[in-house]
Amino acid sequence: MGTLITAYLLAWAAVTAYVAWLAIQNHRLAHRLDELQTSGSTGGRSIQGDKGVEEGSLRAIRSAGFVHKSEVKMPTTSDF
């Protein structure tokens, strides 16, 4: 019985580790997006022409994967 429990616990641990790694990647992505947004709005460097396109892309990225500034619609360990 011990071997059986060990097998299932190891499987659970490996899957949880992968999901946790995905969550960490989400945080990295959120951080990069925040930096991108901050440098675009407060840097005092108005990038005429590119800015509209860029902000449109940022909006698209956020709507594709984000519900809030640093909160992503991706699975976390609590989802499983």
Partner: protein, 219 residues
Amino acid sequence: MAMAMVILCLLMAAILLIFFYAPTEATMGDVQRILYVHVSVAWCGLAGCLGMGTCGAIYLLRRRLEWDHWSQAAAEAGWLGATLTLVTGSLWAHEAWGVWWTWEPRLTAVLVLWLIFAGIFLVRAGIEDPHRRARIGAVLAMLAVADIPLVVMATRWFRGMHPVAPEMDQRMRLVLLVAVVSFTGFFAFLVRQRRCQLELFERTATLEVQRSWAVNREL
């Protein structure tokens, strides 16, 4: 979110069936229940490899990074499946054969698959240009698919100790089916989520490059 809940329910049902519905095997006892997760993750590992190779081939035909993202996501899920296959198989082997590892044909073929996955990740990590990375990754992924028949047929082509399609009780078959379906759903869900994440990373990287070009031009 609804899909995640459905998959979670399926997984819970599979675990309950494995522990409380499936009959105890006469020779090995409770340890035989490892089989349900072992076969499921092994199937997911092979499906991940097949998905990686197929998406790689489609990338080579269409040259769209979207397919490389699918390929990479499938590779990661496949690698997770192959890792769990080796771990659960090793625990099984210790109980059944008295050793943690033996150079048995099927075990060796799965280890080769695991090493191929790891090698592809290492090669990909060393290439910065996304299209070059995708191209080389796709070729390696298609080569990796060649290991699938070896894993599947190893017990028939070579003489080894690994069981070949053992006779099973009707209830055992049902539980195995539920386990395979639920694990496949879960791994497919992981692949889909990871694919979305990779696409967002790619788009963010493109925006960062555009931003730095625009700033340099202004300066």
